[in-house]
């Protein structure tokens, strides 16, 4: 037993009408409430119409052993639906419950009570099992205890009944948690999905840290390259230097290549190489003793190598200019 006077208490029944601010005090749910219950936290006591209960004598000792059996215990009793189960032990007997979360949440919703404002949910069975006589829970219905089971009956069936007083309730420890989406996906599936998600998150986190570590290693290798080759601090400077040296290399390679062509020419008798000059990236070659219009054996090799050149002829001298 526990005292829970912190929150107001509502006896929730399927026959209850929706509460509104004017009807609140006259509500058929017999709530011991004053003021707006829509916005305050409330304790809920479920009417027997919102659950199925079985009193069981089983050859087991612990509640946890019975829990596993609950779906099969109610298998033949319950209409089709998504049920949650609860069990507690009282003396040598077990009291097993089956209830539809969605059905209860729908009734709560009809009463204008948000699920988030529900503090605790109890069964009438656990809270009123010691009733000595019938108690009127609505205009038409009453509850009373028969064979240790709290049952709901029409008020006309009972001769004498008290009004329900919830103002000084002493609650048992048997409260349940309603699953808001239990009808869509059950908890065990959610836990399985959760476990898979956690595994995925862990795997991704591991891959993330491995990737970061690899990126760090590569950055380290990059730094080592800068140190080893004594590179400038920025890639822009280094690219600029590479461009400069590549340009020099290209021009020097061309210079040697073109001079090699010139020196390997098979000149005719009396033809001589008289000048070899490099000025402003232009290679100038002069051949003396060349007869007019008979320079094909010299220019042919330049043409065959696709070398752009300019040539002029003056006083038996062929003047060739090649831009590097």
């Amino acid at each position: 037993m526990k005292f829970n006077n912190k929150f107001k208490t509502i006896f929730l029944d399927t026959s209850a009408n929706k509460l509104d601010s004017e009807e609140e005090n006259n509500a058929s749910i017999l709530a011991a409430t004053q003021g707006s219950i829509k916005k305050e936290k409330v304790n809920i006591i479920l009417s027997p119409s919102l659950y199925w209960v079985k009193k069981l004598s089983l050859p087991v000792k612990y509640v946890r052993e019975v829990k596993k059996l609950l779906p099969s215990i109610f298998e033949d009793t319950l209409p089709e639906g998504h049920y949650s189960y609860y069990v507690y032990k009282s003396g040598d007997d077990f009291f097993a419950f089956a209830y539809e979360d969605k059905a209860i949440l729908d009734v709560l919703s009809m009463q204008g009570i948000a699920a988030s404002n529900v503090a605790n949910v109890y069964f009438a069975q656990s809270e009123f099992q010691n009733l000595e006589k019938a108690v009127k829970v609505s205009d038409t219905q009453s509850i009373y205890v028969k064979d240790e089971l709290v049952i709901l009956v029409p008020s006309t069936w009972v001769q004498e009944s008290d009004d329900l007083d919830l103002s000084d309730m002493k609650f048992s420890k048997h409260n349940i948690t309603l699953q808001q989406f239990g009808h869509i996906v059950d908890n065990s599936s959610l836990y399985k999905i959760g476990a898979i998600l956690v595994v995925l998150i862990v795997l991704i986190a591991i891959e993330y840290f491995i990737t970061l570590s690899k990126a760090e290693q590569i950055a380290q290798q990059n730094s080592e390259l800068f140190e080893k080759y004594k590179l400038k601090s920025t890639m822009m400077q280094n690219r600029s230097m590479l461009k400069k040296y590549s340009y020099i290399h290209e021009k020097q390679t061309k210079l040697r290549e073109y001079i090699s062509y010139m020196l390997s020419l098979k000149l005719k008798k009396d033809e001589k190489l008289s000048l070899l000059s490099l000025k402003n990236k232009t290679l100038i070659v002069e051949f003396t003793g060349v007869k007019k219009n008979q320079d094909a054996h010299i220019t042919k090799i330049l043409q065959s190598k696709n070398i752009k050149y300019k040539s002029s002829y003056k006083n038996d001298t062929l003047h060739v200019e090649i831009t590097l």
């Binding site: 699920a115 988030s116 529900v118 503090a119 605790n120 949910v121 948690t177 309603l178 699953q179 808001q180 989406f181 996906v185 908890n187 959610l190 836990y191 999905i193 959760g194 998600l197 956690v198 995925l200 998150i201 991704i204 986190a205 891959e207 993330y208 990737t211 970061l212 690899k214 990126a215 590569i218 950055a219 290798q221 990059n222 390259l225 800068f226 080893k228 080759y229 590179l231 890639m235 280094n238 690219r239 230097m241 590479l242 040296y245 590549s246 020099i248 290399h249 020097q252 210079l255 040697r256 001079i259 001589k272 190489l273 008289s274 000048l275 070899l276 000059s277 490099l278 000025k279």
Partner: protein, 135 residues
């Protein structure tokens, strides 16, 4: 009802998973960039180091050219050399054709930055020479 709904936990896990995927994706992009940068730096460093060693090593170029000029085959060629901070000028008003072949052969076979060259034939066996090399 005070207990946290498992569905909310699942949604939270999905959000964390999406965040993790996003972070991983960013990290992979970073890794790819780093790899690309390393490849570029390696290629650049190798090329630059090689070219710099050939064309930008003043001491090495200077020593090699001076060694060439000390060659006995060039002693008779009256070769003048003018060493500057930026390079060297080699000239001869008249030198033997064989000595020229020997000198040019060594210069062209070495990796020197020849920026100016002037070889004029003076006679059947004599030539004048002017070479400017930068480092």
């Amino acid at each position: 009802m005070n207990r946290i709904n498992p569905l909310y936990l699942a949604l939270l896990l999905i959000v964390i998973l999406l965040l993790a995927i996003f972070k991983l994706d960013n990290a992979k992009v970073e890794l790819a960039d780093a790899q690309e940068s390393l490849i570029e730096t390696t290629a650049l460093a190798t090329n630059l180091s090689g070219l710099k060693d050939v064309y930008g090593n003043q001491k090495k170029s200077k020593a090699a050219i001076l060694k060439i000029l000390k060659n006995s085959s060039l002693k008779q060629s009256n070769i003048m050399k003018k060493v500057k901070k930026s390079g060297i000028i080699i000239s001869s008003k008249s030198m033997d054709l064989r000595a020229l072949n020997s000198l040019l052969g060594k210069l062209f076979n070495g990796a020197y930055n020849i920026v100016a060259l002037d070889v004029k034939k003076l006679s059947e066996t004599k030539v004048s020479l002017h070479v400017e090399i930068k480092w």
